[in-house]
């Protein structure tokens, strides 16, 4: 796989690169000697030198300090396991990260890995996607080096009928990551579009493999426009789109965002497995932009107008109609008509 950047090894061990970086980071600003590196890592000085060279090629700035050793000056904002894992505090998600310079679609890679038995929590990230996937064959614009494209493998012990609840969980996780890394206030448009100032900033596409009574695995596909510039958006978008940079006016560290996202997913998923859907729904409702508003939901040729009251166990949008009845809407595109009253 020539496009493969780097991947963390199976079983939670660290690569040599990760170990070298950990040694540098244990001494902030300090110098680590070649002897120390080769001694601790139990490899030759030549091997150390080769790995330092490899890290430089990835974008790390490592200086040779004459007769003392090496110093790590700066790390790149690259979505590679060496960096994502460096300060990641999660239980399941991101324990294994596989990153690509470029791939067709992280969801496709993750789906294939999951079919081959990849463990829960495995994360696939890419700097760019050739065919970023949207719903029903649509495309997700995936220019290189500016955004986050990632797919997470989950194997929840759930009946397939419950699985759509994870759609709401991943939307809440993205909202948490935005709040943690920017001063922006995201809203969720039912069921899982992330909006900032009315424009879409993230696209979530989840895929499931299941049997009648059992989920084999679920892929949470998450694309977030982080530092994308205006001219990188195509002209023919279905909905107005934006990036965290365009809304906040400042670049956001993609690594910090990726870590915040994986940590939010991990914490939410952990809680979901113990406490169920209730807490996710509550947080989703607090982030929703439709609650209490009059909305129109269009699904193919049909449309329903009502006041959004909430979501139920299936994630269905509950609309109070003009005659007082409450209708459960299972699919469609929501437009806000006006605030109630």
């Amino acid at each position: 796989m020539k496009d493969l950047f780097s991947q963390s090894p199976d079983g939670g061990t660290q690569t040599l690169d990760q170990q070298i970086l950990a040694l540098f980071r244990a001494k902030p600003g300090g110098v680590v000697s070649g002897e120390e590196l080769s001694g601790v890592l139990q490899v030759s000085r030549t091997a150390v030198w080769k790995h330092i060279k490899g890290l430089k090629a990835l974008g790390y700035r490592i200086e040779a300090v004459p007769s003392q050793g090496y110093r790590l000056v700066a790390a790149p904002d690259l979505l590679i396991p060496e960096e994502i894992a460096a300060a990641l505090v999660t239980r399941r998600i991101g324990r294994r990260v596989i990153s690509f310079r470029e791939t067709d679609s992280t969801n496709e890679v993750a789906f294939r890995l999951a079919e081959e038995g990849a463990e829960e929590g495995t994360v696939v990230v890419a700097e760019a996607q050739r065919r970023g996937k949207g719903r029903l064959g649509r495309r997700w614009e995936s220019p290189t080096g500016v955004n986050l494209y990632c797919s997470v493998i989950l194997r929840p012990p759930l009946l397939p009928v419950k699985a759509p609840q994870l759609t709401f969980l991943s939307a809440v996780a993205v909202a948490r990551a935005i709040t943690a890394t920017t001063p922006l206030h995201p809203f969720i448009k039912w069921p899982n579009d992330l909006l900032i100032n009315g424009r879409k900033v993230a696209g979530l596409l989840n895929e499931m493999s299941s049997e009648t009574e059992k989920v084999n695995f679920i892929i949470l596909g998450i694309g977030v426009n982080i530092n994308m510039r205006r001219d990188q958006f195509p002209a023919d978008l279905r909905h107005p789109a934006t990036s965290l940079f365009l809304e906040g006016g400042e670049e956001v560290s993609r690594l910090a965002f990726a870590r915040a996202l994986l940590e939010a997913l991990d914490a939410l998923y952990d809680a979901y497995l113990v406490d169920g859907y209730g807490p996710v729904r509550k947080e989703w409702l607090a982030l929703s932009n439709v609650l209490g508003k009059r909305v129109r939901v269009t699904f193919q040729e049909s449309e329903t107008v009502g006041v959004a009251e909430g979501i139920d166990e299936d994630g269905a949008l509950l609309l109070q109609l003009a005659d007082g009845r409450v209708e459960r809407v299972l699919a469609g595109d929501v437009t806000i008509l006006q605030a109630k009253g």
Partner: protein, 157 residues
């Protein structure tokens, strides 16, 4: 043979007195029966690892003389229903402009994708759990389906 051909074949047969028509070639076998509904043997989820229950063996077809007058002319069919595991929207193809995953009469391999059922932006690719032939597609594209709704009637091969 595609859906259009089958449709015209059915039309042709309905204009005659023929009650049953069968045609077989190397790749496909078409059987059209008029009148009463064929009996469908529903597929039930097996316990894990148990494999699939087999449809009841076909009954020897009764000669017309032996048939009770009120009994409908039902020939048991080796049909199994593939049902929806979730509430959602049924899609026959991966994209609106893409060809359908499967057509009636097509033989599909184990693991081959038959359709997508989408629920809350969760796309569930429904795969054939065994090698089979599609006898009937029970839902229309982009229509809602309930949990347990029949999506396909297939013949296990």
């Amino acid at each position: 043979m595609d859906v259009k051909d089958i449709r015209s074949l059915i039309k042709m047969i309905t204009e005659t007195d023929i009650s049953e028509f069968e045609m077989e070639s190397a790749e496909e076998k078409i059987r059209i029966k008029r009148g009463s509904q064929p009996e469908i043997i529903h597929y039930q989820a097996p316990p894990p690892m148990a494999g699939f229950p087999h449809a009841a063996p076909p009954q020897p077809s009764a000669a017309p003389a032996e048939r009770a007058p009120e009994a409908p002319a039902v020939a048991p069919e080796k049909g199994k229903a593939i049902t929806s595991p979730i509430v959602g929207t049924f899609y026959r193809s991966p994209a609106p402009d893409a060809p359908p995953y499967v057509e009636v009469g097509q033989v599909v391999e184990k693991g081959q994708v038959l359709c997508i059922v989408e629920a809350m932006k969760l796309m569930n690719e429904i795969e054939a759990e065994f090698r089979c032939k599609i006898l009937r597609i029970c839902k229309e594209n982009a229509h809602p389906v309930e949990y347990g709704d029949e999506l396909f009637i297939v013949e296990s091969l």
